[in-house]
Each structure stands twice: as structure tokens, then as C-alpha cells.
Homo-oligomer: 367 residues x 2
């Protein structure tokens, strides 16, 4: 029973009615200089502060924004959440955070909790927005919501990038570097529509570039790759020369795993990621990736829901896909020469540990 002290106590202490206390402390109505002072004093003496619970009940709004993301361990979400939290705070909202850990069951439970908490709005990154029962409820109840990273579904805006298109670009980059047989790596392909979209775009792109269809490699847990026979994929006649990971976090893990195998990136295999997390640039080899702006995602999502919350009967806003760009990085090189059996690299030597800064492609490409 925290802070037992209520507006009533202040009223009694100040020798006035509760309404007066409310008026004074909220500066929401008249009060003589004299009572004003008595109230202020009393409040200070009692260290009183309003309970948002009572307030919320009365006003029927909580000023809370529910936020559901798969994970905070992936820096892309950590950044987005941090930013949206800051934006929300600025506008007088706070954030109820839930992590689904990519688990649809947890995801559903989290949504139900958010609903029960009567959050004023929601910011969500879902595994599969299109078939989330709770999302339907959210729409039913007309609760302002905005997705993040998910491709928008009718009725729910989203801060997103065009995954398919970006993934197609990646195929182009692989092709340009001379790759023909590459793979697509996803953490939980089954429960991430982003991964699926990226795969589909990649497939399209590979075909368009006349490459083989990419091999789909699914992994269950990050960082540990004993279960995936990476070695097998990377050796033999039909060895893959490149891997497109469905996100940077995974890409970095893969590079590490490849190193553990005693192989090199991009010497033995090129790796490209997706997201553009900051650490990827400091990494050696620096990570080639699709750069997205996680903070902007967070900011846009926050601005959008708050806008929806504060303006009555707003039509569902139409957010256009955010800009993204491909960033060259040392992790993408040319495959070892096709016929050259001397084991040496053609266009890209084993990377030095401290080469110059990687360059960035102009950031204007709109999706």
C-alpha cells in the first residue's frame, strides 16, 4: 500500500475540501492566495503526490503506451525502444515493456496484459501481424496502435522498411561481387514474418540476377551453431560462397562461428546482414548490411501512436516505408575464383585487422 497518503489527507491538513486541493495542485481552478498557500504547505509537509491510479480511473486514460518487441538483446530493438521511450516521456507518456522472445504464445499473453492494463496505445513488433487474434481485439476496441518493423496490415500503421526490396538489393550486391550460390540464414523463420519477407525478396533477387536459388538455413538459437552444419554448407563442390543473415545480430554470430571453424570472412564465405546496428561497423571484418534507422523507427512509432491517442477519430495514418541503404563492408567479398584451386582469394585478400573505414552508399534509396 504505497504512499498511503491521499488527497483527503491533504484536504484535512489544509482544512479545506478535496476539490480545492485538486484545483490548487493541478492549477485547474480558482483559489485565494491564502488557501492556495495552505494547500501547498500541507502537500509539501505530507510529501503528497497524486496517484495516477485514481486519476486514470477518473479520466479513463492511463497515459501508458504498451510496447511489445521480440527481444532487447538484439540492439536494433534496444535502440528503438530506448528512443520511443524518450519520445513518449517527452509527451507525458510512459512505456510498459514486454518481450515476446519470438514466442507467439508469450506474444499473445503480453497483448492481453497490455489490454487489461488499459494502455492508451500500443507499439508492436509481432511475429505475424496478419494472424494475431489480439491485434484484432486492439482494432475492435479502437486502441491506437502502430507497428514497428512489421509490414503494415490494413488498419494498423507501421514504421517499417520494405524488406523484400531491400533483400532484393542484397542479392544484387552478392551478384555484383561474383557470387552464384548463397544461403539465407534465419533464426526463427517460422515465427518472423520479417525473416520470411527478406527471404522472399532475396529469392526474387537471386533469380533476377541469374544466381541459384538461395539455400534456406534455419537456426533455433542464436550464437550457438553446433546444430547447423555450417561446415558442410561451406565445403565441397556445391559450397555456398555467401550467406545473407536475416539480421545483423545473427550475421555477427555467424561470422564468429565461421571463425571458430577456422575459416575466414569473406575469404571462405561472405556474410551480409540486415539492420545496420552500430557495432557492425566496428567489427572486423566490418559488416556489410542493409542499414535501417532503428531510432527513427522508434520515434515514428511513438509519434504516430501519440498522435492517434491525442487526436480524436483520426483516420489510420499512411506511413510510407522508411529509407534504407546498403552499406559496403569487408564481410562481403568476391568468392574464391571458380576454377582457381590454389586456395587463394581472387579479389579480396584475407582481411587485415585494421583497415580503413568502410564507405557508405548514399542514404536516399526510398523503399
Amino acid at each position: 500500500m504505497p504512499s498511503g497518503i491521499t488527497i483527503k489527507d491533504v484536504a484535512r491538513e489544509a482544512g479545506c475540501g478535496v476539490a480545492t486541493v485538486s484545483r490548487v495542485l493541478n492549477d485547474s481552478g480558482p483559489a485565494s492566495a491564502e488557501t492556495r498557500k495552505r494547500v501547498l504547505d500541507a502537500a509539501a509537509r505530507l510529501k503528497f503526490s497524486f496517484s495516477d491510479v485514481g486519476r486514470s480511473l477518473q479520466s479513463r486514460q492511463t497515459r501508458a503506451i504498451g510496447c511489445l518487441v521480440p527481444s532487447l538483446v538484439n540492439p536494433v530493438f534496444a535502440e528503438a525502444v530506448q528512443e520511443l521511450q524518450a519520445c513518449a516521456l517527452e509527451r507525458g507518456f510512459h512505456v510498459l515493456l514486454m518481450c515476446s522472445n519470438y514466442d507467439p504464445a508469450l506474444e499473445a499473453e503480453a497483448m492481453r496484459i497490455l489490454l487489461a492494463k488499459r494502455v492508451d496505445g500500443m507499439i508492436l513488433t509481432l511475429s505475424a501481424a496478419s494472424d494475431c487474434a489480439e491485434l484484432a481485439t486492439v482494432q475492435d476496441r479502437n486502441i491506437p496502435a502502430c507497428m514497428m518493423y512489421n509490414t503494415p496490415v490494413p488498419g494498423v500503421p507501421s514504421a517499417f522498411v520494405d524488406n523484400r526490396s531491400a533483400a532484393r538489393d542484397v542479392a544484387g550486391e552478392f551478384a555484383r561481387a561474383g557470387h552464384r550460390r548463397v544461403g539465407f540464414l534465419a533464426l526463427r523463420f517460422g515465427s518472423s514474418d520479417r525473416a520470411r519477407e527478406r527471404y522472399e525478396g532475396f529469392l526474387e533477387g537471386c533469380r533476377a540476377m541469374g544466381m541459384d536459388d538461395p539455400v534456406l538455413v534455419e537456426v533455433d538459437e542464436a550464437i550457438r551453431f553446433e546444430d547447423v552444419n555450417l561446415q558442410r554448407l561451406l565445403s565441397g563442390d556445391r559450397a555456398l560462397t555467401g550467406l545473407f543473415a536475416s539480421n545483423d545480430y545473427l550475421a555477427l554470430s555467424v561470422i564468429s562461428a565461421v571463425h571458430d571453424l577456422g575459416l575466414t570472412v569473406p575469404g571462405d564465405v561472405s556474410v551480409v546482414g540486415f539492420d545496420g546496428i552500430a557495432i557492425g561497423r566496428a567489427f572486423r571484418p566490418s559488416l556489410a548490411t542493409i542499414v535501417t534507422d532503428a531510432r527513427e523507427m522508434g520515434r515514428i512509432a511513438a509519434d504516430t501512436v501519440i498522435e492517434m491517442i491525442t487526436t480524436q477519430d483520426m483516420p489510420v495514418p499512411e506511413l510510407s516505408g522508411l529509407a534504407y541503404s546498403f552499406r559496403r563492408g569487408e564481410s562481403l567479398g568476391s568468392p574464391r575464383g571458380g576454377r582457381t584451386d590454389d586456395g587463394e582469394v581472387a579479389a579480396s585478400p584475407t582481411p587485415s585487422c585494421h583497415p580503413k573505414r568502410n564507405s557508405t552508399v548514399p542514404k536516399e534509396q526510398q523503399s
Copy 2:
């Protein structure tokens, strides 16, 4: 006004009183099979779910845990928060998240909001626990709280490691590798008592090992080091041969900055971090660091506050410092030979980009 539908609507729909609805839906009292069914039906038909706002007002508890951390961008906090969120959820609590961005003013405001929200408990990582006015209020009101990473202050338990002791160990490691002149790097030295403690321990350690007093280098913003004249620190007669960064995130940034200068780690300068974030092991050179268990921090903090919340009049628990260990990594090598002016490294060659896995010191050292 989300979910306009309330218990009253259900009662009307079911043709009974609200008390009955409450009893049935909460399974908290008797009800004939017949009314039970009517209520259940009505609730389903209306897609009713209780409002936690009303509930909280009535029960005087919110089942919310306020969580305040400096930043989510530092993976060490992201991990801790994710874990504590999961723990909380398991026990029926949810998390209100605030990031202070290492700003004492924001920190204070965040605490005030958490207080107003009437969270049942708090998990905090503060800049300076010892002089946080709001923390005093928390104690006044007897609100269960547990700190994370902060050294405990009287009356508030904390999930922490002994920063001083760990930092002393780091000095030992530098000494063992043959360093004499090293520096300590902190992001916001002035607003992080952790950084200060680590510095103090490091200073002690350096003295104990007969090294020079470490040079204190303060930086204001992560990742960008134009402001710090790293170059100057690393060249000349009195060049530093090693840098101890107050956290891994900073350490990685420094390594990157050093590379940008065209220098190598540990060839030109050794770097040691603090925290043991996962990415540090995959990094090349792998990061030598003090390994702490961020998830355990989160778990312990969550368990502690929840324990305090659920058990009445509990004495303030005495948490002992968590285990930590030093992890060898490629980023710590021997300094270039003192007199050797040929520019080549003595004990540690320029690191290969894909050496074998770094070993870990036994993890038992208790603080």
C-alpha cells in the same frame, strides 16, 4: 476510452449483479452452475476483460515494477532488463521502463513518475545512489526497491559486483602483461558511481603493482572520440600502453577508434573492458574484460523486489556481491618492448583475424 465495456455491462447482459460477475470470473466465490454459465457467456459475448485500473485502485497495488536504467543501448542493461522483465512476467508483474540516459535530472523525473504511478516496487541503476533525493522518498514510503550494478547503500539491497575489487584485478592483469603506464577511460565519470569505483580500485591496484598512477580520461559521448586526443595519449615518450575502459561498450568503441587512427590493438595499445557483453568474444581482437552476469543481475533484482513486495515487513535482504571473473582476450597483450625502437611488438604479434577461441578464467572468484 478503451474497452468501454465494464463489469456492469456483463452483469446486465447476464441478468445478475456485478458481485456475481466478479465471483464467477475470478472464481472467488460461490455461484450456481446456471448463473455461472450465463455470466461466462455474457463475458465472452462482450469480449469482456477486467480493467486493471479499477482493480489497482481497489487492491491498492498495481503489480507494476518500475525499472530505471541509464541506457538500453549498452547491451549489459538490455540483457538485464530483458531478463528481469521475463522474471516479473512469470510472477504476474510487469515492467514500467525508464531510461535516464545518465542524466541525473531525467533520473529524478523518472523516479517521480514511477512514484506517481504507484508501482509496487522498483529496480534501479542510479548515477549516484547515495545522494538521490527520490530514493530517500522511496525508502520513506517503504516501497520495495532493489538496485542493479550500484553498490548497495544502507536500506536498499542491490544486485552488484564489487567494482573496486574487480578493477584491482584488472590492474594486476595489466601488470602481469608488463604494462606500467595505463589509462582509465570513462564515459560520464561525474555521473556514474560505478565508473568512479572502478577507477578507484584500478588506482589502488596499479599502485599495489608498482605501476604509475593511471591517467584518467573522460569522454562525453560514446563512439566518437574526436574530442579525446587519443593520438596524443598513445604516442611520445610517455605514451600509455594500455587502457581500461569503464565498460565493454566503451571499450569496443575505443578499439574501433584506435583502428581508425591506423593503430592496432594490442600492438599499439592494450584495451580491457568491464561487463563481459557477449559481442566482446566475437570481436577481433576479442575483448579482455571482467565478466559479469547481466541476466543474473536482472533475475536477482527481480526476485528480490518481488520477494519484498509479496512478503510483509521483510527485513532488507543482504545480497552479497555477485561472482565475476577476468576473461583473457586478445585485446590485452604485452606492451612493445621498452627499449626496442624497431617498432615491432615483443610478446604479442599483430593479431590474426581468426585465432582460436579465447580462454576463460575459472568463474568462482567471489567479491
